[in-house]
């Protein structure tokens, strides 16, 4: 099956710093989403981005489908950005189910 690898596994930042999270996947995908899991466990949609670039405030994401990777950029990080960031991909020939990576745990210090 498709493999999803995220890096780094852990990241500690000082408030105000920028960061880049990476997601590599082993096959062509038709759906790619980035999520933020808050301390209460809820998965919050950040981006639906099977290809191209999107921006939402301090967050932006880029997926290069031909090279099988996606990047999530966080600028001017805040303590509320802390949590686990997941990348998840789906294939049409597998019914569209999302396959998740192991996540990147981000801690932003004041």
């Amino acid at each position: 099956g498709i493999q999803v690898e995220q890096s780094p596994p852990d990241l500690i930042l000082q408030e105000g710093a920028n960061s880049t999270l990476r997601c590599n996947f082993s096959d062509s995908v038709n759906n790619l989403q980035w999520f933020h899991q808050n301390p209460w466990g809820q998965l919050i949609n950040l981006f639906y981005i099977p290809s191209g670039t999107k921006q939402n405030g301090r967050l932006s994401a880029t997926t290069v489908a031909t090279e099988r990777y996606s990047l999530l950029y966080i600028s001017s990080s805040q303590t509320t950005d802390s949590g686990v960031y997941f990348c998840a991909v789906a294939l049409y020939n597998q019914g569209g189910k999302l396959i998740f990576g192991q996540g990147t745990e981000l801690s932003v210090k004041p």
Partner: protein
Amino acid sequence: EAGVAQSPRYKIIEKRQSVAFWCNPISGHATLYWYQQILGQGPKLLIQFQNNGVVDDSQLPKDRFSAERLKGVDSTLKIQPAKLEDSAVYLCASSLQQLGNTIYFGEGSWLTVV
């Protein structure tokens, strides 16, 4: 617009007991998913419904887990009998259709088996 609703939020049971979780997807969403997330790992799909039909249940431990979506809206996930390794967060999610749509998650149901 209301999000995906789940209940109960927290449940503690003894091993070999049974438990049921309920999910109400976003209105109009045809596809419903149940995921299991063990602490420190990414969510793993247990079962996927398209309306009231099962699309994928390949990772559902069918000897103890069951799920249904009788009228194509609400869904229940049952575990009987529970094992210690079933301690996890059970996440329900929904999307408009099976392919090419954003998937939205509920807050999850936290299960502890003691």
